[in-house]
Amino acid sequence: MEQDLKKRMGRIVGEGNVSDSANDRLTFATDASQIEGKASLVVWPTSAEQVHRIIVYANRHDVPLVLRGSGTGLSGGAVPDDSVVVSFVRMDRILRINLKERWAEVEPGVILDDLNAVLRRHGLYFPVVPSSHEVASVGGVISTDAVGVRGVKYGRASDWIEELTVIDGTGKPLVLKKDRIRDFAGSEGVCGAIIGARLRLAAPLGRTTATLHAFGTMDDLIFEYRRIMARQDVTAVEFWDRTTARLLGMDERHYLFVEFESDAGKVKDASEIARLWKRRDAIAPTLGSKGFTLLEDPKVPLEELPTLIGWLSENGIPAFGHIGYGIVHPRFPKEKKDLIPKMFRLVKEIGGEVTGEHGIGIYKKEFVPEGTVRRIRELKRRYDPKGIINRGKIV
């Protein structure tokens, strides 16, 4: 059966773009979540037409498919459950750039940094830049509706999509605009495959300044944050807690890093601002190298942030994040993995969500709010009634 499937898929994508080799299947059976599934076959389509034919075939013959971008997801969204893995990394073309109207049409496998490198030549950029921008693909960024480090200014990925071209789970090609974009943006691929996106583009930021505040308590930090957010010129606002600061070799205090697109910040020298960003960007790698390797992304109401940070500190867990979106990134060492479900329970108790930007995948299924379950089931009924695509994800 699988040999037959390989032959049929090979006819669609070409022999060099399909593999049933043991080690290809092994390496495509996992992603950055480190959850391991089982891949029956790996297929690399190179065109929208091929994706269409793959999904039509899968529908007719009830072949489950799992869609995959760069595999940097942290919730197992690309982990197959005895499914064919459809990898979009070879659909990586920038199709059109309209300088006058400021948009770009791209395939799903385009890497964010590659896109922005091209756009920079034209004085433009796609501003939703998560910290995995070096390797994250546009399709993955859209599927998780990612938030970047400048989320307070630029919002989420879905705020920057004019049009999505998709093949739904029944094999029907659709062009989605306005509200319907959110059916696919943020639903982690459960409705079908994104085969193209028209992205709105921004002008690069003007001259910026920055301030790094230090506080003795999280309450003081939040007070200052609320004061700052009354302004219109804030482009980024990030925090890290005292446990993180200690591990970074800084004074053991809570830090708030604010970037302004004006003269309001205390640090005005561009190289000094770049140094501050470097320090912010170094948090994850530094914690990783000290054994704090498991990254989470709960989202909590601002007033409950001290509760979560307090609990994490008591357990020796460092945390940082995008305070403007209420997204916290605690990093756990492998030996304290058991604390993660306990943290999820606390997050639910204080009215938060277990994921703010990394998605639910399979890893956080048991913590999904009822409203999300209903919405995803409704989307599945509409776009993928046979449950061909990303089976077992989210619900």
């Binding site: 049933d20 080690n23 290809d24 390496t27 990898s87 990394v89 995995s132 990783g288 498991l294």
Partner: protein, 136 residues
């Protein structure tokens, strides 16, 4: 096992001290940032032919020609947020395979190419990507 991995059925044979090599990659969290710099991944766009794929296969004590695709350029080491010395682990996997006589198809092809063409890649024409992208 498929010959496409170049493993010719040797995939699951485990040298005794592979544990030591596994320990060097213990801190790998599969984040994938190394993909951004890995020249073989950039060329082929396949997980198996990538720094992360190699780390995963070492963790599974699996032999594969992908260790010989690696250029040992250390770009993955530079990108790695957890400071995993992956290129060293890959180099040691190659050594181990040679020491233990665990020749795979890739070794045979490289040896044949060196004897015939004076390089591990085989016959190469200007402007063309060599068929065998092995690096010894």
């Amino acid at each position: 096992m498929s010959g496409k991995d170049g493993t010719a059925g040797a995939e699951r044979r485990q040298p005794k001290d592979i544990d030591e090599i596994r320990q060097t990659i213990e801190r790998c969290v599969m984040c994938g940032l190394c993909l951004a710099n890995c020249p073989t991944y950039k060329a082929i766009l396949s997980e198996r032919i990538s720094a992360r794929g190699r780390a995963f296969l070492i963790g599974k004590e699996t032999l594969d020609e992908t260790y010989f695709h690696c250029t040992l350029c250390k770009a993955c080491d530079v990108m790695c947020p957890a400071g995993v010395p992956l290129s060293e682990a890959i180099r040691r996997m190659r050594e181990l395979m040679v020491e233990r006589g665990l020749r795979i198809e890739a070794n045979e092809r490289m040896i044949g190419n060196i004897r015939k063409h004076g390089n591990p890649f085989g016959e190469t024409k200007k402007g063309e990507i060599p068929k065998d992208l092995y690096c010894c």
